[in-house]
């Protein structure tokens, strides 16, 4: 039992922090309630998917700098397709598109043997270009049901739909894999590639799989952008650095092998609530930027210090 707590101490700490922040929000703005939660959950959608995708590739020992660009491609593809055809086939095509992009990222990493960070840095430009080729200027139109699916809280009463959708989509992609041998392979590859190879893990396919999963999660991210805005924008949003920050805040170790998707997702909500609080307090926006940076560095510093102390005992 104490083992379980020790191994999940980080996530537990994040949950506590999240609870405290929710209380603080309520104190600052007594009217904060269901609609506030809904808007936080909605705002978190693209960040959550970008972060989940990033977390998977960080666990496998890589990093994907092209998440925001892939999301832009999927957002414009969704908006363009949904204007022309039924929503469901369009949605499936977009998911397939995400899969293909992720697969290509992974395959290029494995085949060229160029480090992940370099390949995905290059692919960041490639996918950004592709988004612009699909849609030169913002446009298209997302299906109505897609927009509605993340509004309100009718799926599970009391819980924002956007949150339900996030949990379902991430769970559908990740849970079947996480506890399977494939999931173990992902952790093993991130932990020690050579040992994994010698334990019989097919390193190349495992990496490609992880990047493909990241691609699919980015497709969800792109769809959520289309659902939020109702259109497709070809310019990548600020999701790259935010997702790296959330992944690290969420307790996933850069370098791979350790962490889960839960921590990073909670970290996403923490970061969103902090922004809400800063807005409610009418902070000077320039100071807000400083505070966000300080929080990011500060939390990681505290966490690292806590872990170093834990390791010494």
């Amino acid at each position: 039992m104490s083992d379980v707590i020790r191994k999940n101490a980080w996530v537990a700490g994040l949950v506590a922090l999240l609870a405290v922040l929710l209380v603080v929000t309520k104190l600052i703005q007594p009217t904060f309630g269901v609609s506030g939660l809904e808007s936080i959950a909605r705002a978190a959608l693209p960040f959550a998917f970008a972060t989940a995708g990033m977390a998977v590739v960080v666990i496998v020992g890589g990093i994907d700098l092209s998440v925001a660009s892939m999301m832009a491609v999927c957002a414009v593809a969704a908006a363009v397709l949904m204007e022309r055809m039924a929503g469901v086939p369009a949605l499936l095509i977009v998911l397939a598109l995400g899969l293909v992009m992720g697969f290509l990222n992974g395959a290029l990493i494995v085949l060229t043997r160029v480090p992940d960070i370099v390949v995905t840095l290059a692919m960041l430009f490639v996918w950004e270009g592709v988004a612009l080729l699909i849609l030169e200027t913002p446009g298209g139109a997302a299906s109505d049901w897609l927009e509605q699916s993340i509004r309100g809280s009718f799926l599970v009463p009391g819980i924002p739909n956007a949150l339900v959708v996030t949990i379902i989509c991430v769970a559908v992609v990740w849970l079947p894999i996480r506890r399977s041998k494939l999931g173990l392979s992902i952790y093993a590859t991130g932990s020690d590639e050579l040992a994994a190879f010698r334990s019989g893990v097919a390193i190349g396919p495992t990496k490609i799989l992880a990047y493909s999963l990241c691609g699919v999660l980015c497709a969800f991210g792109g769809l959520s952008l289309a659902a939020l805005t109702g259109i497709g924008e070809p310019v990548p949003g600020p999701y790259l650095l935010a997702s790296v920050a959330a992944v690290v805040l969420g307790g996933v170790v850069l370098g791979g092998g350790r962490g889960s998707l839960l921590g990073p997702l909670i970290a996403v909500y923490i970061l969103r609530i902090i922004r809400t609080i800063l807005t409610l307090l009418a902070f000077d926006p320039n100071v807000t930027t400083i505070i966000e940076g300080v929080i990011m560095v500060g939390v990681v510093m505290l966490g690292t210090a806590a872990m170093m102390r834990g390791a010494q005992q």
Partner: protein, 323 residues
């Protein structure tokens, strides 16, 4: 207006670190300060996309503002939040660019006209025929698209004008300058340059490389306007695109809150062109220029008929409630 009213106004903007937008924010603060009935403003001002602006708008709604003045990142993308705001009787004013949400007020610089005006002047300047370099902003961004429409409209009127280079500067000084150096290096001659606001570095590129100057169209940025009066041999025109339109947006929002809504929900601030080739134009430029101003700031710091703050107030960049 009732002097005891104390409105809270929310402001949302999605580009940070660009002189034009900084001026817009300062104009908003200054105007809010001089409007007697504004007690507080909440500014959400950062670099983000439409989804991020939706988040900011929702946070502003949560904060219980009476009006939202925003520079929309896209005309269509923000409707859900804007409609939610209006459903709660929050006044919505979009400045600089329009939004399509029903019932929202728009006080906008006419971007299409901005491009059209400058392009037409340039095409006439080169005698109705010749080769033009077309330096745009950021691909895929609404303002760039609007301006492109205006540029194309002018182009259609001048069939003998030919665009030899078209490039996106990303609204970055360094990129624009480098690109101009590259164009000059090819040795392919051209007769005029239209820029989307990255302007004085383009003049620098000509001067530094020793190439003969051609007519250049820019915006009313402090740096470029100064060049129009100082650089020998430069024939150019600045098209006004006041960032202070933000201040006008605040004034409009307060009017509406006080029950003085205009009949029409859309108010376009039409740009003016100042050329340094005519005496009248020169006089306007001389009067407008201000060498102490941040060189990226547009020199038209007020919108006559709308804004009431002083030069000192906009430079102080202080709003009510300490923000």
């Amino acid at each position: 207006a009732d002097a005891h009213k104390s409105y809270t106004i929310g402001i949302s903007n999605t580009v940070q670190g660009n002189g034009w937008r900084e001026q817009m924010i300062c104009a908003m603060r200054a105007q809010a300060l001089v409007e007697g009935d504004v007690g507080n403003i909440i500014v959400a001002h950062r670099n983000t996309d439409s989804a991020g602006q939706l988040e900011d708008l929702n946070n502003l709604i949560e904060a219980g503002v009476d009006a939202i003045v925003l520079n929309p990142s896209n005309p269509d993308a923000l409707n859900s939040a804007l409609e939610a705001a209006m459903a709660q009787d929050i006044v919505v004013v979009a400045v600089d660019a329009g939004v399509t949400a029903e019932g929202a007020y728009i006080l906008s610089n006419n971007q299409e006209e901005y491009a059209y005006l400058g392009a037409r002047w340039l095409f006439e300047q080169v005698g109705g025929s010749g080769d033009i370099v077309y330096m745009r902003g950021i691909a895929g961004v609404s303002a760039d698209t609007d301006r492109d429409n205006g540029f194309k409209r002018a182009l259609a009127e001048f069939p003998d004008i030919n665009v030899v280079h078209e490039v996106f500067t990303g609204w970055q000084q360094d990129q624009g300058k480098q690109q101009m150096f590259d164009f000059l290096a090819t040795g392919i001659p051209f007769d005029g340059v239209w820029t989307s606001g990255i302007d004085n570095v383009i003049v620098d590129a000509f001067v530094e490389s020793g190439a003969p100057l051609v007519p250049i169209v820019g915006a009313d940025n402090a740096g470029f306007v100064q060049y129009l009066t100082e650089v020998n041999g430069l024939v150019g025109a600045a098209v006004t695109n006041p960032g202070s339109v933000g201040g006008a947006g605040i004034a409009l929002a307060v009017d509406i809150l006080n029950g003085e809504a205009p009949a029409n929900t859309t108010v376009l601030v039409d740009p003016v062109l100042w050329e340094n080739g005519t005496d009248a134009g020169r006089a306007t430029i001389m009067a407008a220029q201000n060498p102490n101003l941040d060189p990226e700031w547009p020199v038209s710091v007020t919108v006559p008929g709308w804004t009431d703050y002083t030069m000192e107030q906009i430079i102080a960049c202080e709003g009510p409630g300490g923000s």
